[in-house]
């Protein structure tokens, strides 16, 4: 194998490139990225960058020296538009063709949008350019409405509230982040938001966005209007597979891979884009979290080089909201039984364990870093026992 092409120059793509080199691959590596920015970190977009604590430069995933040391060819600011599996070639929007022996797909996800044209002031949040535009707009202290009470919407609501804006979190679900962590944790998150002055509108369907040039509010059922000058649409994301249509790859949920992150011979996928068979859980997963992007990028690269290791990580995610640091390992499937283990020594800190049919599958820490790490060891044990 002489030529590896990596499409998507973010967390997963970068980890793949670095791992190829760390494992001794001496051929050419070409990284293609639609954004003009060198690889940067997304989690701070809704946290430190949005709050103003950090400037954009701090988000760089590597400094220039480290990027140079990779000895890769960078094609930034250009989109890949098609893949020919048989001819082993990726075509870019400027019609350049990149021939490869090995390919790693890491094009991530895009925010799901509301249908129709949107007035100014309606945002999605995925990239640095989105985040900078929102941050600028928040400086005028607009009334903020967030549509969608998943992890991103809920976290953004906390950050905007922390900046002194009036914030309403509108969700279809009965409780914020309940889809991720269940109703009990969702109730505690809702409580923390109410205490901080975020208005919650659960179980609410937004009928339309009001405003001609600039947004003026959201129309809700019963003829009610929620006034807002800034709206964040955080209703989930869709894998960026459009450019792979017609390639023959299975795109049922992102790029569908086997237990080794392989989508087709010599073609692997990693990060938010990839769904794969997790042998430890005995099910298919696609994970949209930062740690997985690095771990899976590295795993895909090793397997491309012939390692044949099944990828079976313990999923990890974190979110910062007001003074609460949430971290979780594993899964919280619907119907899982939640048990809360309070920290006797420290009120307000706890670990929540999730079990399915008696088997430990997930653990969440609420300001409980160390206790959660212990729970992780139990989780790892439970996962191994079942393999």
């Amino acid at each position: 194998m002489r030529r590896v092409v990596i499409v998507g120059a973010s967390a997963a793509g970068l980890a793949a490139a670095e791992t190829l080199r760390a494992e001794g691959f001496g051929g050419t590596i070409t990284l293609v990225g639609e954004e003009r920015h060198a690889p940067y970190d997304r989690p701070p977009l809704s946290k430190q960058l949005m709050s103003g604590a950090w400037e954009a430069g701090r988000l760089a995933l590597r400094d220039q020296a480290a990027l140079d040391a990779l000895g890769a060819e960078w094609r930034l600011g250009v989109r890949a538009v098609s893949l020919d599996v048989a001819a082993r070639r990726v075509t870019l929007e400027n019609n350049d063709g990149l021939d490869f022996d090995g390919l790693i797909l890491a094009t991530g996800v895009r925010p799901r949008r509301l249908p129709g044209r949107m007035p100014a002031g309606v945002h999605v949040l995925r990239g640095l350019d989105d985040a900078l535009a929102i941050r600028d707009a928040l400086a005028a202290k607009p009334r903020v409405a967030v549509i969608g009470s998943g992890v991103l919407g809920t976290e953004f609501a906390a950050t905007a509230r922390g900046l002194g804006c009036e914030v309403t979190l509108v969700g279809q679900a009965a409780l914020p982040m309940a889809r991720q962590f269940g109703a009990r944790i969702g109730e505690m998150i809702a409580q923390r938001h109410r205490e901080a002055g975020v208005a919650l509108l659960p179980s609410t369907q937004v009928l339309r966005i009001e405003g001609a040039d600039h947004v003026t509010g959201l129309r809700l059922p019963g003829g009610r209007i929620l006034p807002a000058e800034l709206v964040l649409v955080a209703i989930g994301s869709v894998p960026t597979t459009g450019w792979l249509a017609g390639s023959g790859l299975d795109l049922a949920d992102g790029v569908v891979c086997d237990a080794f992150c392989q989508a087709a011979p010599g073609i692997y996928a990693a990060g938010d884009l990839a769904s794969w068979w997790h042998e430890g859980y005995g099910r298919r997963l696609r994970i949209e979290h930062r740690m997985n992007a690095s771990e899976q990028g590295a795993a895909a690269a090793r397997n491309l080089l012939g390692a044949r290791e099944a990828f079976r990580p313990i999923p990890f995610l974190w979110s910062d909201q007001f003074d609460v640091k949430l971290q979780s390992y594993g899964l919280f499937p619907p119907g899982g039984e939640i048990e809360i283990e309070p920290d006797a020594a420290a009120p307000g800190r706890f670990v929540a364990l999730c079990r399915v049919e008696g088997r430990l599958v997930g653990a969440l820490g609420w300001n409980a870093v160390r206790a959660l790490r212990q729970a992780r060891q139990r989780l790892a044990g439970a996962l191994m026992a079942d393999a």
Binding site: R290, M291, E295, F316, W318, V369, R373
Partner: protein, 64 residues
């Protein structure tokens, strides 16, 4: 080798502690990394490298 950390970058993910438990720990209050050993023995290099690879905040550096 010499290990350095940037506390204000750390997001408390704890991957470093999992990868190299003799080199890193975390403060209980906020999970921020604590460097237990600035100059670990050479046989810990692979663990430290793994910590650097996994750290989502890029808060760890090593000079060999």
């Amino acid at each position: 080798m010499r290990v350095t950390i940037e506390e204000d970058k750390c997001c408390g993910a704890g991957q470093c502690v999992l990868a190299a438990p003799t080199v890193f720990d975390q403060r209980e209050e906020d999970g921020i990394v604590i460097l237990l050993d600035e100059t670990p023995p050479d046989d810990k290099l692979a663990e430290v490298r793994q910590a650097i690879r996994l750290c989502p905040a890029l808060a760890i550096k090593v000079e060999v």
